[in-house]
Symmetry: C2
Subunit: 337 residues, 2 copies
């Protein structure tokens, strides 16, 4: 039932090469022959098989997008940004979601094997837990790679990141100077996450800048998930009376913590400030509306895809780093007293 180029050639009384030329508008084909071939193509509903094209052209027109399973509502926008650019340029998006809970090698291997097997022409990778050695290995394959949200410029790949330090810093500035808070807890993501780490550093440094010492006892580790936020609240509870604000490394944990507070009759944004990081879609609409640091998620995806595309088209040289700026979004949840 499915017809091949050879059959089309035979039916049109020409050679495979001529059919191929017609298909690709390359080389010379007379009007007459072209028409004859196209009639056969239409009549039999012929479509070239991408698997054969891929092999002979040594490319797949596919770009891999790797995202961790923890990003939650966050990755929506990233995907949209990436897909929009790639599809406009004729590329397909192979989406791989990292299972960060499972044995890491397992999960890691899956997306890496897609690269090693040359299943994709390029990749946009956001793997919070990947180490440098692995990354250089990936980079060594020689296809264009963009590291999303992790700076691996020095390991030979383009990096598109966000200025987490200054994001966190501006939040602390606000909490300290506008509200006069002196004791601010911080809830981190998983320790491997460099985003979380950079935000933590921003938090520490900026406290210092304001002459406030930070205490390790006010730093709580969690995992960027809603459930993680709920769990960490239990550890947070004992210190609640000693602090004026809780700064969470993302919005989901902030939401979870606010919900837990409400259950106990504590009113976030009134009794205590709770702020987040990301500014996901719903941050504005929850109760109280969340003060947070906006990350340009759609742009993150879009710019990554654009970098991939330009790598794919022109052969550029050095790895590039793009740093996108965040900005503070002040809503209600940062008030207290």
């Amino acid at each position: 039932m499915r017809i091949t180029i050879s059959q089309v050639a035979k039916l049109a009384g020409v050679s495979k090469a001529t059919v191929s030329r017609t298909l690709n508008n390359s080389g010379y084909v007379s009007e007459e022959t072209r028409k004859r071939i196209q009639e056969v193509i239409k009549k039999y509903g012929y479509t070239p098989d991408s698997k054969a094209i891929n092999l002979s052209k040594k490319m797949t027109s596919t770009v891999e997008l790797v995202l961790p399973d923890t990003v939650g509502p966050f990755y929506n926008e990233v995907i949209r940004g990436v897909e929009e650019i790639l599809s406009a340029r004729g590329y397909f998006t192979l989406l791989t979601i990292l299972d960060t809970k499972k044995e890491r090698n397992q999960a890691r291997n899956r997306y890496i094997s897609a690269i090693l097997e040359r299943r994709v022409d390029a990749a946009i990778i956001f793997d919070p837990t990947v180490d440098k050695r692995t990354f250089s290995k990936i980079a060594a394959v020689g296809i264009p790679i963009v590291s999303l949200l992790k700076d691996y410029q020095n390991y030979g790949v383009d990096s598109v990141v966000v200025d987490n330090f200054s994001g966190a810093s501006s939040m602390i500035d606000h909490l300290v100077t506008e509200h006069g808070y002196k004791n601010i807890a911080f809830v981190t993501g998983p320790k491997e996450s460099s985003d979380s780490e950079d935000r933590l550093i921003g938090y520490k440094e900026t406290l210092k800048k304001h002459g406030l010492s930070f205490k390790n006892s006010l730093i709580f580790e969690s995992d960027f998930t809603f459930d993680g936020g709920k769990r960490v609240y239990q550890q947070l509870r004992p210190v609640l009376r000693d602090i004026q604000a809780v700064f969470c490394a993302n919005d989901e944990m902030a939401l979870a913590i606010m919900e837990e507070m409400k259950k106990e009759g504590i009113v976030p944004g009134k009794d205590i400030a709770v702020v987040g990081f990301d500014d996901v879609f719903w941050s504005e609409y929850i109760a109280p509306p969340l003060t947070t640091v906006h990350q340009p998620m759609y742009d993150l995806g879009k710019i990554s895809a654009q970098r991939i595309v330009s790598r794919l088209f022109d052969h550029e040289s050095k790895p590039i780093k793009v740093v996108l700026q965040t900005h503070l979004v002040i809503r209600k949840s940062c008030g207290c007293h």
Copy 2:
């Protein structure tokens, strides 16, 4: 730099065939030879090229997932469900996002061409605007297809849908019998969306069941987006004093409408009821918490992927339809007066 199977064969002093057998654990290869080959493979870091494998095996180990750009927070869970199952079975996910705004053919062709070109072994398709003819064409290609959220069982493909009628119906039951509302507006999605259509029918029929006539003047068309919700609010405003509730065909529009109301000092859940459909992640946490109809989004993705996988493995016969049940989630936004 990149090494091929022929080179491995030469380096190990054997033929391509023997290397291939070693790689696939097929046929006979002596322990000795196998070891020698594996040493060469390790030494030179050889990985078979998937493009060649795909061609000779006539398969791609890839499943396409098609989603419209309107689904917003909704598709998160679907993707997760699909990806989880597929990756566990060794398949990759090619994600295509429909641009429902653009000339529809454009967008449509992209995901269809992936199928026609045999870039994927199967596809899970949620295309709200696709017509039956196009769908039978896709089905005719002969690869396993699952139609997500649209019943195309009669057109030869498996369908995984949700019982929109009874979802809407239970919502109306609740609004009428528990709250005694008599005038309920309905905000639809785009007219091509069969989900929206089915919910509308549920709304109409159930009103009738309760002896309430429905009025066309209380049906408003929108497009499932937040902005669309804001826009439709303008049309809704004149009738606000005549109704007790607004039933939106999804949560995003319900949220938008509530936000618009608040701007004007109208308190949703108090002055008027606003309810939605979907029960996305944030529905529970907005103000007021949204009464809505829960759709099992993760399961939708998971079950679709499972059907694809079983089609791919065993050769089954007739197209199957799976209907997932919804359930009512009562929160605060349905109160009024």
